[in-house]
Symmetry: C2
Subunit: 400 residues, 2 copies
């Protein structure tokens, strides 16, 4: 696997175009289109929030067939909590794209991110579509990654190249979602492209597994979006022999998509609202993986743990308290806690680890927290970031 330049338009046959149609007051690009010149097998995963954007409703429905060819994304408006009109609006916009590209309505997806509760400015979007189509180009992958940003401070994209039986296959992705991962307003949107030829079933399985192991394992603030969407398109233009489940080629493809999703989920954490540190939480020695996961998430979503790390303060008692309140079965007199390689709590008691050593660990950009429950052999890993005053500042001022 080789990392190559570019983003979602690096794989063959993918074009992107962007414009600013006036949804964002700042005048930044707020409407973008990702388009494959040929039909794709496609799949997606979406928020489990019961309050969902009309854009999520529509795209989820359309992806049931396993095919799509383009996705239009607007930033600045979530198309959510405006009543059933939001589904009608989503349809209308995708119909306009279908008409412009001469495609079937069902092959166009839509994703939205931004403020909740305001109707999509359909007229502005309609007026923007012409410019969007005219801008379509292979060189616009990065513009796509930029147009989907809201409170993100950097655009996030990656592209890699692999070799499948002598054919060069590319896989790429672009994501947004700086805050509120388990997110809310600043929804996580993730788009992946590949020119691999792959069976729908194989693509679905590989994507599901990758998302589970990447985006589903990151959390910035425990809030869950109404708009989270992760979508992958595979157009087959690499002309490799078609990838099927349970083959060597599938394993290579799976590794690749896992790498791409993990790298991008890492970039989301690093760009977490107000974040200054990347935190890996590992809970091991659990009886069941679900227990390890619950404990890891409890730690990762504890404001006390996150503010402690922001403050550079190795106050491991907050980790113990978070595990104890996660609802899982533990033996508090057996539990161990490590910061990096340093054992700070052994069998439920502090070890008097060297404070200067711990302060050194806490000054680093990346911090590893390991909890060993010592009651089994299952484990889980969650990534998160620290929690600074800047987060509060950003979120107190989001709308105004």
């Amino acid at each position: 696997m080789k990392i190559i330049k570019g983003g979602v338009t690096a794989p063959k046959g993918f074009l992107a175009g962007s414009t600013s149609c006036g949804i964002k007051k700042s005048g930044k690009t707020d409407l973008t289109l990702l388009f494959s010149t040929t039909p794709c097998v496609a799949t997606g995963t979406f928020t489990t929030n019961k309050v969902k954007s009309g854009s999520v409703f529509l795209s989820k429905e359309r992806l049931k067939k396993g095919f799509a060819q383009a996705v239009i994304v607007n930033s600045g408006n979530a198309n959510c909590c405006v009543g059933k009109k939001e589904i009608k609006d989503a349809k209308e916009i995708t119909d306009l794209i279908a008409k412009a590209l001469n495609l079937k309505n069902e092959s166009i997806l839509i994703a939205s991110t931004g403020i909740i509760g305001r109707p999509l400015p359909v007229n502005k979007i309609r007026d923007g579509i012409k410019g969007l189509i005219q801008d379509l180009s292979r060189s616009n992958g990065t513009s796509f990654a930029k147009a989907i940003m809201t409170t993100d401070t950097v655009h996030k994209e990656i592209a890699v190249e692999i070799n499948i039986k002598g054919k060069v296959v590319k896989v790429a992705g672009a994501v947004k979602g700086a805050g509120m991962i388990c997110p809310n307003m600043a929804t996580m949107l993730a788009f992946f492209t590949t020119d691999a030829a792959i069976e729908t079933k194989a693509l679905k399985q590989a994507f599901k597994e990758s998302v589970y192991d990447s985006f589903n394992k990151i959390t910035i603030d425990g809030d869950m979006s109404t708009n989270d969407s992760a979508i992958i398109f595979a157009n087959g233009q690499a002309e490799n022999s078609i990838i099927k489940n349970n083959t060597k080629d599938y394993a290579i493809f799976l590794d690749t998509i896992k790498f791409v999703t993990k790298e991008l989920s890492r970039k989301i954490i690093l760009d977490g609202e107000g974040a200054t540190r990347f935190i890996e939480i590992i809970v091991k020695g659990a009886k069941r993986e679900m227990s390890a996961e619950l404990a890891a998430r409890r730690i990762a979503n504890s404001n006390l743990v996150k503010t402690m790390i922001a403050g550079g303060d190795p106050n491991w008692g907050r980790i113990a308290a978070a595990v104890g309140s996660s609802g899982i079965d533990i033996n508090p007199w057996r539990m161990d806690i490590y910061f990096g390689k340093v054992l700070v709590m052994k069998n439920g008691a502090g070890t008097n680890a060297s404070r200067p050593l711990l302060l050194d660990i806490f000054r680093k950009k990346e911090i590893e927290v390991v909890v060993d429950l010592k009651t089994g052999n299952k484990s889980s890993r969650v990534w998160t970031c620290d929690f600074t005053e800047e987060y509060v500042k950003i979120n107190a001022e989001y709308e105004t």
Copy 2:
């Protein structure tokens, strides 16, 4: 019911004493004793965190018999995560108090709050006990309320007087717990005294019900303490005819203790770390009370909701998103949301409520958020506070 001056020593027969024995570096009082001159029926409720302070272990165990006569409280050290030594230390300290007061060991309770993971400085406490006993006085109720403080900015106490069949009965309480309610480090400790004569069974039921309706319904940051304790002592010195379950007197007593616990839980919220606003969240129209409660808690613990209120920004979409992610069954196309009396979302869509009107509501010190699920007739209420940069500042710097 009449609110009277004073705190936990307002009811007859209760004395308190405080000292600073050197646990807190600041030199503020950090050791305090609440003592009834005669034996009490007593009961308590404690944290459900699986990681518990040795002080909680011991007091919980001792209260099983339903009797106690004194509680020693130290602030500045949680007596938690130091291994089984923490139970031994708690015992040793209560034994010293028992010896000094010439009481049975089993009648002394202990509570601790402060940093996790450091052994209790038993020697300092031992040296402090003499001063503590010498300080015992009816006039020291407020000193007790002050000595249990950690990051609290104000002490919190209340006393009321009722009349039960011609006898004056007093009920009082003191609490601490500014931050992290569903708390962690800045544990919630609550102590109640009454000179009522009451059966153990009746006291247990009344206290359980009151705590459920007050302290169990407040949340500052979703973190749960290793040390939370709420304890009530009733010494019978009011000489009323003994209060039994399911009587008119019981109903009067229940109302009183409910009032006292609610008032004090309200004071905790108002003193929430960094808090500037008191928020009442009501979820109604639910099929089951538990669903309403889950949704209300999800809203109350959402950083996005709390930062939005801190910012004075009536961005109700975050409320809808929180309800949708609470895991309960809802119909997003039926849900209504109100800020105060103003309907901001009706049947899942924004109402275009007047923004100046909403901004006015958000400028007030107390804000009411009502969600009507319109799927049933059960409801729940949770109190919380907003979430400011100050909270992060306090918690990033707690230890150092």
